[in-house]
Amino acid sequence: MEHLNIEGTPKTPTIKFDVVKGELLIRGRSIPENSIEFYKPLVDMLEAYTSKPLSNTKVDVQLEYFNTSSSKCILDIFKRLEVLNSNGSNVIINWHYEEDDEDMLEAGEDYQAIISVPFKMIQINEE
């Protein structure tokens, strides 16, 4: 399986899925008009990875902005991680939010309440 490497743009995040280390990173802005199309490569790859996963999978989500169109796609990804977690890979989701960004903290808590995967809130302190 190849790594997934999507460069960020002003409207879409950087996505890096390292299948050798079992590490997924989603970082930046996620405000595309068509989120389903954007997230499809990641969804497909998660599906393939789930059939032969590593014993540990670490997911870091560090979003500055995301729109509601992305929020359902992000939930869809988290639900796939939930399946992965019960299929033999220990999944941890790290949800990064900037200090003062209550909306982003709350968004993380909303997901945490819906998904049963170990979920950690990590505050980024501004320099």
Partner: protein, 183 residues
């Protein structure tokens, strides 16, 4: 032409309009508007908190327009396919407002009105629960939306959504939405 451009300018100035646009809502336009607003707010040295709030709400408002505009009766009478809308960003003192206006079919008015009234009747906690319920209802529109936009706008703005439906003809109304953003 009976348009007095000075009068127009003066009205915009007196009403503290930072930015306004009327026309086709395209993906490229949204990218540019968001970049302009971001650099304006940087120049004005707004706090990161306000910047994020305004930016987030603006994204939802503009994408609502992008996805949901019904055709404009004047353009369609001329045989054109046109999906235009208007929006303005107002800053009065340190309060931001975002105002949008677009045509809507009369058939959709009562559904929209009902949704907005339902949202406005909710407390902060109820909105949070409602958001989670809709987020997790498994319904996704073709592009990934799925009814969260207005709930998110209400949650993030912290103020009731002000709206009006202006009847235009037997088929169309003009829908205006005014979002005040709490500090």
């Amino acid at each position: 032409m009976d348009l007095d451009i000075f009068d127009f300018y003066d009205k915009m100035e007196k009403n503290n309009i930072m930015l306004s646009f009327k026309g086709d809502i395209t993906s490229e336009l949204l990218t540019s508007i968001l970049q302009i607003m971001e650099s304006k707010m940087d120049t004005m040295e707004e706090s990161p908190k306000i910047k994020k709030k305004v930016y987030n709400i603006l994204v939802e408002c503009l994408q609502n327009l992008y996805h949901h505009i019904d055709e404009n009766p004047i353009a369609s009478a001329n045989g054109e396919k046109d999906k235009t809308a208007i929006f303005m960003i107002v800053k009065e003192g340190d309060k931001y407002s975002i105002i949008t206006g677009n045509y809507m079919y009369n058939d959709s008015v009562s559904l929209m009105k009902g949704r907005l009234e339902k949202i406005n009747a909710m407390s902060k906690d109820e909105l949070k629960e409602y958001y989670k319920e809709v987020l997790n209802n498994g319904e996704m529109s073709e592009k990934g939306g799925g009814g969260l936009g207005m709930i998110d706008i209400a949650r993030k703005s912290g103020k009731p959504l002000e709206f009006q439906f202006h009847p235009v003809d037997s088929k169309h109304s003009f829908f205006s939405l005014n979002i005040n953003i709490a500090q």
